[in-house]
Symmetry: C2
Subunit: 220 residues, 2 copies
């Protein structure tokens, strides 16, 4: 820790060329709907993502350089309920503990935004899911408290990232623009006219075909 | 000429990060509506664009490398009426001869798509505007005939590019993704789900902050 204030960061957040961050029709079998794995193929080749799933090897080029920073200095995550699972309304499947198996890759407290709070779920490896009915600012206060001075990651999905952007609570946004046209799904950018004026933008294209775009909050 | 078949090309076509290729509210003073000049600032610094307007100098980096290929090997252009002028419906201002002064930078036949045909307008420097009420395929047949074996450029705006994509008549699409969020205007990508499957994509980021994305038709 450097004494600099805790930042709010988004990492490895893929969007299609037409601005969709997830496809239409999320199900248990298809967490990203009709997008399938197409938004994240760039990531599957990286050492970081392979390591998350216990696989050896992986590229160490520019995709990896971006992918690997997702967990560095992070003390808590906030995610939308759609990232946690495909359910809606009151919880009926209390056995559901996320998509990630017994040891999720977060290793920090994770705050799941839901209108249906329930007791926390403690997982192996340091991840605990907390279920909170809260505004972005309220959830961030909880996550900052839990992060102990480290940064807070906004984990998605698109509606959650958008809500934090709208509330002007994001300091660092790493997007991955994937050259596919989904045509339908959930748009990241609705209602975000002019948001770039608060950020410095930098684009870095990758041999994999994607472009890494970072938006970093301008100093006040 | 190399004997290869005449191709249909789109060049220097800027889109915002949220997929708008022009803003809302086109007028004589604001050809791109509320987008102003923000979609094309990357181009104003290039040697090619400066040269078009009789200005000396300009950058010769990656933006120029892409910008400069717009006119090479082109024998005719097809444009939508909105690119030609801000008018709608039957022509009332017959003195309007486009935004570009007496000597437009095209120097070829230009086919303007309109439901209101009128006699051709011959300009200085080899540009002649033809006004045709035609489908994309019909307009392309006319333009190919006029191009004498050279390539045909689809000059925009977004609805025109989209119509040619939908008709599967585009061979080479050079987009420039500009990291701004317009929020409103005319979207390029409506109805284009899956269009990338016909193309090879290549992304090149520029120090200016934009990303050049080329979609090149895959060999059959």
């Amino acid at each position: 820790m450097t004494g600099s204030p805790s930042r709010v960061r988004v990492h490895n957040f893929s969007v299609s060329l037409d601005g969709f961050a997830t496809g239409e029709g999320q199900t248990f079998e298809a967490p990203f709907g009709h997008a399938g794995q197409r938004l994240h193929e760039w990531a599957f080749g990286t050492r970081t993502f392979r390591g998350m799933f216990g696989q050896p090897g992986g590229g160490v080029g520019v995709d990896e350089a971006f992918a690997s920073s997702w967990n560095r200095g992070i003390g808590a995550e906030i995610m939308g309920r759609g990232k946690f699972g495909p359910h809606h309304g009151p919880w009926t499947d209390h056995d559901w503990r996320g998509w990630w198996g017994d040891e999720p890759p977060f290793h920090t407290p994770v705050f799941v935004l839901t209108h249906h709070p329930r007791p926390p779920v403690e997982m192996d490896g340091g991840t605990t899911f907390h279920f909170v009915d809260a505004t972005p600012a309220e959830a961030l206060a909880l996550a900052r408290e839990a992060a102990g001075g480290l940064d807070v990651r906004i984990g998605g999905g698109p509606s959650t990232v958008r809500d934090f952007l709208t509330a002007d609570l994001v300091d660092h946004l790493h997007l991955v623009v994937v050259p596919i046209l989904l045509g339908r799904g959930v748009r990241l950018w609705d209602g975000q006219e002019g948001v770039e004026s608060r950020f410095d933008a930098e684009a870095t294209s990758s041999p994999s075909g994607v472009t890494h775009l970072t938006l970093t909050r301008r100093p006040a």
